[in-house]
Amino acid sequence: MNNDTKLLNQLFELKSKIDQENLSDKFERNFQRLFALLEEEGLFFKDPIGELYNDARTDVEVSIVGKESSQMRITKVIKPIIYKKEGGNALLLQKGVVIIEKA
């Protein structure tokens, strides 16, 4: 794992904690700034929380909680999906690590 990925993972954790404490408004501008700075380097992450899951999603590594179902949703994100933009295209730097449950 390179330092870019580590940095974004820390940022994601930080943001998750702040969201959990309902302090998002207070730090929104700072996060926007951080994300903009990272985006200048082509780096960005995606938090897939709440998204539907299917077999073709290879952008996440999943653990299935409960019984498997035809409609599964991402209920916990342990690590976000990290991309790097290069020449207008995106490279997947890190797959998300998530937990999925019956939707």
């Binding site: 999603r57 590594e61 653990s63 295209n89």
Partner: protein, 847 residues
């Protein structure tokens, strides 16, 4: 005869593919996720077959359709019943799926006919034959087998400097889920496995589980009092979610402990009634070693058993070669050294050593390529010939049409696939090129749809491939799809010109343009710029920040562009001083009706200034107008001076007229108040813009050609002198590269002000280059010394500098010498080389 070159580690837990080429081995990466390893797991989902990591995710939840560790059953009559297919599959077929998937890692367009596949030392003839058959099922025409410990040794020997390798060697292979140890004897060129031991249920996964069960759960129980946690936490218990989180954290902690003495695990524990508790636990390497020591002891016992059985002492073993990801654990290495007193060798990469060794072996292994007419008509080859026949004929008959939107604002886009021809037995696979989406192998139908998930604001590239039933790709049917997400709106209008912000160029006492939105970008567009205040604005003062948004060409002078939005923030508007260097955020949005929404946030005073501008409203900042006026005046004057040296009288006359026209507005400009409500500032601004434009066009194509020549002369000058630069060579080379990287665009625009700008920058760089060339400096210094004192502004100071420079030169203190020559330059009369253009320059206040 051809060399095989391809080596495959067909592992119980993970598999890899490598190629020997030009004396080196390349380990191929999975296009999905860019990992070298592929999980040896196959999942028969309802509508598709998944192979690898994605399949492994279902192994606990869908055991009737997902299979792993089938290598252990190779060569037996075991069959796996697949509920979703209502049929049995053999370990051979499952292995062939893994091999076929490994072939998709190859991005060199090759379709290998032969491969070396590794097998454990313990494999008997039946198991070996089964592996060979799996290779043939996967489409290889020739399969050669190689024992894994031999492969690992080969990988090591290719890294080792040691010449004489004769004697006994041990290969200790501790992987993710299995352990194997083998004793190898080498005599001259003969390498043979003498004995081996193994445990199919001992590996890194067991260590992760041990961290969860023996360290984390007891600590959580102690911290929270959740006494039943140990019984309830498992992959099927009530705390299942927590179990998976802990398992993931445990794996990370294990990796951290390979290179640090302790690590922390942090997670949120959801308690009853919606409460939660943040828990941070520290794990030391010592504690981790304690919990895995029993398992490591088991492996050492097996090594000792081998030595005893073969009546060998440790001293008779050359080295112990470590293979498998779990041998990264320092404790494993320490225990082996302490218990066995054998030199531990970690030169080969533990993860890829077997595949690497297989590829080395394949690089020296020859096979006869199969020519169809020469093929012996065995049952197997008849089948393959029939396959090839049907492949070739169907290949011609299949016509595939993909329909999709090339640009969208949606997060996913529908792909419609229509196929003409007989689709029976064919499969397709659609992969997003970053590896974040993969349909797996799907049966090809005459008409079907796929929903393609898209990454925001980028060009999403997908590859659609068609395969035969045996997994051979029909290369001629491959198609690429590109879908731009969020970048274009179908009915959006494009920006006719670049949109830029005017920022200070302090180095040159002027302003420059910085691109915000590029020409032809489709509306709406939104962006936030982060800049710094370039000079202090005192609260209550008349000083001001000017946010000028301009429309035009990004390469021209700001004065030639149209101001489409302007926000002025005066010292009277701010609640406290805005210090130089403090942050400023400018958010700009241009909507589809081309209204500009601009907001400026000064971080230091925490104030926000918003405005909505319509392009039909002209925006003029009086202080900026004054600056721009002065700059243009100066530019015209210096151009006139240059023209007076040439024969271009016509240009000179035209330039004089432009200067006269500009001067005619000077009186009004000087009288202009900052809060002027009349239309005078608009009249002057329009004149300044028009005169700048006319000046750019002056001389037409002839002047442009002359300027292009000047450009190339300036460029060549810098290029020729750069190699002899003594000081700051790297910095100056970078500056040069930066200027010439946009050369093509600069020359193509055929715009005088763009060319003037580039020539000025190159000329300035030329001076810098000369003044950092020691030879030039010494020569220049000699000239200065020969000058008449009247040519200096302060000759007494110059004399002193001469003394200092002489001394510096004598002592070879070249940096000091350079500084002295610079100082002398500043004391010459009429020197303009380093003089700022406009001493009263105020700029925008944005750096």
């Amino acid at each position: 005869m051809e060399t095989v070159n391809y080596g495959i580690d067909l592992g119980t837990t993970n598999s890899l593919i490598a190629k020997f080429e030009n004396g080196r081995v390349t380990i191929f990466k999975n296009p999905i996720g860019q990992k070298e390893t592929l999980a040896s797991v196959v999942a028969f989902r309802k509508d598709r077959i998944l192979v690898g990591d994605k399949a492994r995710e279902y192994i606990a939840k869908d055991p009737t359709n997902v299979f792993g560790s089938f290598k252990r059953k190779m060569g037996t009559d075991s069959q796996y019943y697949v509920v979703n297919m209502d049929e049995n599959v053999t370990p051979i077929t499952l292995s062939s799926y893994v091999l076929k998937e490994l072939k998709t890692f190859l991005r060199n367009g090759e379709k290998p006919q032969a491969a070396v596949i590794t097998i454990p030392a313990s494999f008997d003839t039946m198991q070996s034959n089964a592996t060979q058959k799996a290779g043939i099922e996967a489409g290889f025409k020739n399969v050669f087998l190689l024992q894994e410990p031999i492969a690992a040794s080969l990988a090591y020997f290719n890294h080792a400097a040691q010449q004489d390798k004769s004697g006994y060697w041990l290969v200790y292979d501790l992987g993710g889920g299995t352990f194997d140890v083998a004793l190898i004897r080498i005599e001259d060129t003969d390498m043979q496995i003498v004995d081996h031991e193994g445990n199919n249920f001992l590996g890194g996964v067991d260590f992760d589980t041990a961290i969860v069960e023996e360290i984390l759960i007891p600590e959580i129980v102690q911290k929270t009092g959740l006494e039943n946690l140990k019984e309830e936490i498992s992959s099927s218990g009530t705390h299942e979610k927590l179990y998976y989180i802990l398992l993931h954290k445990a794996e990370e902690a294990k990796k951290d402990l390979s290179y640090q003495e302790s690590t922390e695990i942090e997670f949120t524990l959801d308690l009853a009634k919606g409460d939660s508790e943040d828990i941070v636990l520290t794990i030391t390497r010592e504690r981790f070693n304690q919990i895995i020591s029993e398992k490591i002891n088991l492996t050492i016992q097996m090594v000792q058993q081998i030595l005893e059985r073969n009546s060998l002492s440790s001293s008779q073993i050359q080295q112990i070669i470590l293979v498998g990801g779990s041998t990264y654990i320092p404790y494993v290495r320490e225990r082996l050294v302490d218990s066995l007193a054998i030199t531990v060798n970690t030169d080969a990469d533990p993860t890829s050593a077997i595949a690497e060794g297989a590829a080395y072996y394949a690089g020296n292994k020859y096979y006869q390529p199969v020519a169809e007419e020469d093929t012996e008509l065995s049952e197997l080859t008849i089948d393959s010939l029939l396959d090839d026949f049907s492949e070739n004929t169907t290949n011609i008959d299949l016509d595939i049409q993909l329909s999709y939107m090339k640009a969208t604002q949606e997060e996913e886009e529908m792909l419609l696939v229509k196929v003409q021809g007989n689709t029976d037995g064919y499969q397709y696979r659609l992969i997003r090129d970053d590896g974040g989406f993969d349909t797996g192998f799907m049966p090809l139908k005459t008409k079907f749809t796929e929903f393609l998930p898209l990454i925001a604001h980028v060009q999403n590239l997908f590859t659609f491939r068609v395969y035969t039933a045996t997994g051979e790709e029909l290369a001629g049917l491959m198609q690429k799809l590109a879908i731009a997400q969020g970048q274009y709106v179908i009915q959006g209008q494009p920006l006719p010109k670049d949109i830029c912000i005017e920022v200070d160029d302090k180095e040159n006492n002027t302003t420059k343009l910085e691109l915000i939105f590029e020409r032809n970008s489709l509306l709406p567009q939104k962006k936030t710029l982060y800049r710094e205040v370039s000079r202090t604005i005192k609260a209550g003062s008349d000083e001001r920040l000017i946010i000028n948004i301009l429309e035009g060409d990004r390469f021209v002078r700001p004065v030639s562009c149209l101001v489409i939005a302007c926000i002025e923030i005066s010292g009277k508007d701010i609640s406290s001083d805005l210090l130089k260097g403090s942050d400023i955020e400018v958010s700009l949005m241009i909507d589809e009706s081309r209204q500009i929404h601009c907001s400026v946030y000064t971080v230091m005073t925490e104030q926000e200034f918003k405005h909505v501008f319509s392009v039909s409203e002209k925006q003029v900042s009086v202080p900026r107008l004054k600056d721009q006026f002065m700059e243009l005046e100066q530019e015209l004057r210096s151009a006139l001076k240059m023209m007076s040296f040439s024969d271009e009288n016509q240009w000179q006359t035209a330039c004089e007229q432009l200067l006269d026209e500009l001067e005619s507005h000077k009186k009004d400009l000087l009288k202009l108040k900052e809060n002027d409500k009349s239309d005078k500032k608009f009249i002057i601004a329009e004149a300044v813009q028009r005169i700048a434009g006319s000046f750019d066009k002056l001389g037409g194509a002839e002047r442009l050609t002359q300027m292009q020549t000047e450009y190339f002369e300036a460029r060549d000058f810098v290029e020729q002198h750069l190699p002899s630069v003594y000081f700051e060579k790297e910095n100056l080379t970078n500056k040069f590269k930066k200027i010439v990287q946009s050369e093509e665009q600069i020359l193509r625009t055929r715009n005088a002000s763009i060319l003037t700008n580039a020539i000025t920058r190159l000329n300035k760089l030329g001076w810098e280059v000369l003044y950092n060339d020691l030879g030039y400096l010494i020569g220049r210094y000699g000239e200065f010394k020969s000058w008449d004192p009247s040519r200096y502004t302060n000759y007494t100071a110059v004399e002193k500098l001469f003394q200092l420079a002489d001394k510096a030169l004598e002592n070879e203190q070249y940096n000091t010498f350079r500084q002295n020559v610079y100082s002398i330059t500043h004391l010459t009369k009429g020197s303009t080389e380093f003089k700022p253009k406009n001493e009263d320059f105020k700029g925008t206040g944005i750096g």
